[in-house]
Amino acid sequence: MYSDLLNALPEVVGLTNFAAVVIGVIAGIVVGAMPGLSATMAISVLVPFTFGLEPLVALGLMAGIYNGAMYGGAIPAVLLRIPGTPAAVATTFDGYPMAQKGEGGFALQVAVVSSAIGGIASAFALMLLAPPLSKVTLLFGPSEVFWVAVFGLASIIFLLGGNPVKGLISACFGVFVSVVGSDPIYGSDRFTFGQLELLDGINIVILLVGLYALPPVIDLLETPLKTDGVNSSKLGTEPIWRTLPRMFRFWKTWIRSSIIGIWIGILPGAGGSMAAFMSYNEARRASKTPDTWGNGEPEGVAASETANNADTASALIPALTLGIPGTAVAAVMLGGLLVHGLQPGPMLFRDNPDVVFGFMWQFLFGAILLILLGGSLATNSFARLLNLPRPLLGSVIIVLMLIGVYSIHGRMFDVYLMLGFGAIGWVMDKLKFPLPPVVLGLILGGFAEENLRLALRIGRGDWLVLFSNTTSLILVALTVAVIVGPLIKRRFVNKRAQETAG
């Protein structure tokens, strides 16, 4: 089962593939360090540029960016109390007080080492858990695959929390976008309105760039944020090899937070910020000196940074094996796989083992590289990124978005379509409609329809074929549980709250 993993290693350590991870990590740290930019946005902008690249090079860039950005978010969190990414909020609790005491450099070193440890643990979890899960899912037929798609959609909508109606609207919108173009069986046009550009359907990259890149750019231009005044003299940085012995006392926190991060990553809809908060709370509860937390306790930085990086690769376990991403970044990464003709799900492991296992190694290398590239010298340089003017940054990102989308098919139609999706994405963002269900709907919608129709053909039009075996029934039961569970829990919590108030 794991032989494919070892077979994929030689290609990953090739110069081009390795360079892609290095560039990805640096780019990720840069992106994460800039408040308002996220890994999701960076990967969305990057995906169209990877069309001409080998799949492993493209995936190496993505793995590097994901790892780098999760750490990069700690830089403004520590220095300015502005989390660079949502997952870095918990890092501000102790990181910023440390910077106020002149220990900003040490806080960032704790962050980078903890991020690397979390990332390494997460990559190992992906390597160990994904292959056996894929073996099981390889046994699935069309009806089971259809139910997996339905389960995926249901889980991301109902486990995301918030408002299920908005989540469902997002998912319906995503699935609707997936049906635009030629019908997969009969070839008849659906919602193309005579536009030849729509015959092949809507490319996922256009949707990704519109939804995930345009709204943050509008935010960058909308809110003038002053971030000047950061210089290396405030950091008090020592070489990282001298400070490492001071960190060894965090070993219990590193293990605990890695487990929490991996677990949260596997759960659909949770994400890095929940992992970081949960890990911070657990570490504080286990601490012998909980009173010092919040006033510059380095262990607090270690707890949150380990967990938010441990969430990265593990979020890809359900994404790669079942096609169900655990986080928004994982959803965008699935889009990245699709543009290279790699359909996430069990077949990926059978048809492209070199790519999928190579991707896992790249996650591991990306996490290890964090210590080297995000070490003390680099941290001083990355801190200066905070002085970049936001309007200039916004205008450059707009240009990159246009180039990326135009280069897919070499036509401006796609750019206008992307702007349309961007406007929709901005409204959704402001009204708190979750965006991952849209992407998942686009990925799983076509997949579900194709398998539904295949199952119906096998069953000669009998819909009962969808419920004809135990695996399908289990998947139906899981889907119902995912939908009904949170509703029952909410009712139970409300009842208890009323009783308490009464």
């Binding site: 109606v165 699935v175 003017p389």
Partner: protein, 153 residues
């Protein structure tokens, strides 16, 4: 900006729900010309969008009745409209005038309008960005960019 006095029908969530209902109903019409199996998924999704939007509408109107404030979309509407307008203008200019002239004008224009007003910084940034794009995409990857519809004719 307080949205306390937003009229009930102009609340952002209500407007969004109404917009979705109208758009979904308009898209539902073409499904009648499709084979039933081809129309199944889109019709279910569009029907779902209509039903869910009605629920969203009702929920928002209930909030309005209870005196809850409408969701605030932006603190500076002028900046948001300006940003969208400039991005659309950049895309149209690229289509009509070509990629390089539009980009060379848009980068400093957008940055200047939104608050970065250092002429030297703008000039240097524009030269670096446009030069790097030319070097990587045009020279290195032979990527074609729009040359401008105006010049073609």
């Amino acid at each position: 900006m307080s949205d306390h006095h937003t009229p009930r029908l102009l609340r952002p969530e209500t407007l969004t729900a109404l917009g979705i209902i109208v758009a979904a109903a308009a898209f539902l019409a073409p499904t009648t010309t499709l084979r039933p199996i081809s129309a199944l998924l889109p019709a279910v999704m569009l029907g779902g969008l209509i039903v869910l939007s009605v629920l969203l509408l009702i929920a928002d109107q209930r909030k309005a009745s209870a005196g809850e404030d409408a969701v605030s979309m932006t603190r500076s509407p002028k900046r948001v409209i300006g940003a969208f307008g400039l991005i659309l203008g950049y895309a149209l200019a690229t289509d009509l005038l070509g990629f390089y002239p539009s980009t060379a004008a848009s980068i400093p224009l957008v940055a200047w309008l939104f608050g970065y007003r250092n002429p030297l910084g703008l000039a240097v940034a524009t030269v670096i960005v446009v030069g790097t794009i030319w070097l990587i995409f045009d020279f290195g990857m032979s990527q074609d960019f729009p040359t401008g519809l105006l010049w073609k004719e």
